[in-house]
């Protein structure tokens, strides 16, 4: 049903120039510099045609490397903890005894230490982080916004070992001399603040972890809050709400899932944090109720004892702790990402937020 019946005019001038044609399978040069066309055959020969697929293969190999890394991590962890897995089975995670000399290894104190220090950290970091995010996103004058977000970004860039250094020489004496005696005096009845105020211990680890985790919670919460559409805020304001009421009903309520995700990501980071915690937690593999007592976390025991470990069983037990830590952080992080994604709709991961 097309136009083939209509005559197509033929052009009579300019077509008879046989001198410019270069053969049946090539197009005649159209311009004055007839030499340009043959030179543009680059990339069309045998190797030229291979270059596109070859490039694709090379890029895919790089992409595969990411997968291979994950596979290697799992393999290394599982294979090197075989001995310990075999020897102790599930009881490994229920036993309190950590006795390298006798060859008895149980991971419970470390699991306890990791959980408690992380929970203390979250208890402090969540209100501060969310509050700071609310301030930056909703209340702060526009001029300050850039500076404030830059400084929270700086906080996230400080290495763990420097937090630890500062914690040992500044935070711990503060805790030992002022905070812990005060807590023991007024809140000792809760059984959470008993025993001598060493300074070093679970509370110190929780506080320094909180400082390290706040930037993550704060910057992610800020992303989530800014992702809430303007119409939601305007709808609440139009009903005559105060600014706080608008934030509470129009923004926070909508961003709930995302904020929860930010918190869980903060938890993920706290669980795996090593250096700062190792430097202030006291390194005692015992379970104690009081926050003033020394403790030990999964990451800390690996950091402290791995290079000194004598014997394959010892090493294997440490690797098994590493495997457990790996699995826990993957699950926690995966869950958190899902929550954050549902609110921000798949904004790609930011480089500094980890």
């Amino acid at each position: 049903m097309s136009n083939s019946a209509l005559p197509v005019p033929r052009i009579t001038k300019g077509t008879a120039t046989p001198a410019s044609s270069a053969g049946p399978t090539s197009l005649p040069p159209a311009g004055e510099s007839g030499g340009a066309v043959p030179l543009l055959r680059a990339g069309t020969g045998f190797f030229g045609r291979l270059s596109d697929p070859a490039f694709g293969v090379a890029m895919m190999a790089c992409g595969m490397t990411v997968m291979i890394i994950l596979v290697l991590i799992v393999l290394e962890l599982v294979l090197n903890s075989r001995l310990s897995l075999h020897q102790f089975g599930w009881g490994f995670f229920k036993t309190q005894i950590w006795d390298p000399v006798a060859g008895n290894f149980g991971a419970l104190p470390f699991i306890y230490g990791t959980l408690v220090s992380s929970l203390v950290a979250l208890a402090l970091a969540v209100p501060l982080g969310v509050g700071a995010a609310v301030f930056i996103a909703e209340m702060c004058p526009a001029r300050l916004r850039g500076i404030l977000s830059f400084t929270t970004e700086l906080l996230a860039a400080i290495p763990s070992v420097i937090y630890g250094l500062w914690a040992i020489f500044v935070l711990v004496p503060l805790l030992r001399l002022y905070v812990e005696p005060w807590l023991a005096k007024y809140f000792g009845w809760t059984r959470l603040f008993e025993g001598p105020p060493y300074g070093i211990g679970m509370l110190a680890a929780g506080v320094v972890l909180a400082i390290m985790v706040v930037p993550i919670i704060s910057s992610l919460t800020r992303d989530v809050l800014t992702a809430v559409p303007r119409q939601q805020r305007e709808a609440v304001l139009a009903l005559g709400a105060t600014r706080w009421e608008m934030i509470r009903m129009g923004v926070l309520r909508n961003a709930r899932a995302g904020i929860l995700g930010a918190i869980i990501l903060g938890l993920g980071r706290a669980l795996g944090e090593t250096m700062a915690v190792t430097m202030v937690i006291g390194n005692r593999p015992e379970i104690a109720k009081s926050l003033l007592a020394p403790g030990y976390t999964m990451a800390s025991v690996i950091a402290n004892e791995f290079s000194e470990a004598t014997g394959n069983l010892y090493l294997s037990a440490l690797v098994e702790i590493g495997l457990a830590l790996f699995l826990v952080t993957i699950v926690v992080n995966g869950f958190a990402r899902l929550l954050v994604w549902t609110v921000t709709r798949g904004v790609p991961a930011r480089v500094h937020a980890q």
Binding site: M1, S2, N3, S4, L6, V8, P9, R10, I11, G14, T15, T17, S20, P24, T25, S26, L27, P28, P29, A30, G31, E32, S33, G35, A36, V37, L39, L40, R41, A42, G43, T44, R49
Partner: protein, 253 residues
Amino acid sequence: MGVGVEVRDLNAWFGQNQALHDITMSIAPNHATAIIGPSGCGKSTFIRCLNRMHETLPDTRVSGQVRIGDINVYGNGTPAVQIRRHVGMVFQKPNPFPTMSIYDNVAAGLKLNGFRNARRLDEIVERSLRMAALWDEVKDQLKKQSGASLSGGQQQRLCIARALAVEPNVLLMDEPASALDPISTGKVEDLIFQLKEKYTIVIVTHNMQQAARVAEFTGFFLLGRLIEFDKTEKIFTKPSEKRTEDYITGRFG
């Protein structure tokens, strides 16, 4: 000197949707042929099939035959890359390479295809910019000014110069002036008038007056089919098909 384009039974698909149905036409060498029709009728898809750009999008298919001069565009022997070096394309929204200078933009097609002679390159860049009527405006800032810092009309003329630098036989233009102001549009149309003498031009336009001003032949597309193809004068004064007449007189589209 000119090269014509023969299209036979061209069909094109986006996934399951057929965008072009059995297009057959002959595009005359050294003339401008306009492709008109309402939005979504397949005009852009059609010219993108002529230089095998349609297949760069995911999940697309083409069947039929296209010959540019002696070359079988969809033949087994010819790589798509080779075809595109002989067919220049100017897009609707000017798209100069943002991180390159004006000189590098014009030379990009040559340099990235293996051309090495620096002196000849200078000559070709100047010649292309002159042909695109941009030389006088940018000749002092060739290597210092970025392609993206020009005005919209200048950017489009830069893109035309870039396409001309590789000496194509056919020049495809997909609504080249639709994103430009009236003065720039006028300049681009003047350009097409001059370029016709050396190149075969196919221009997609939704502006019927433009087609009438610039092209000797016009094809009217509707819903993926070629309804009528004839001398522009005839299409606009005495069209053979009622649908063509309806579109020309503004009954739809």
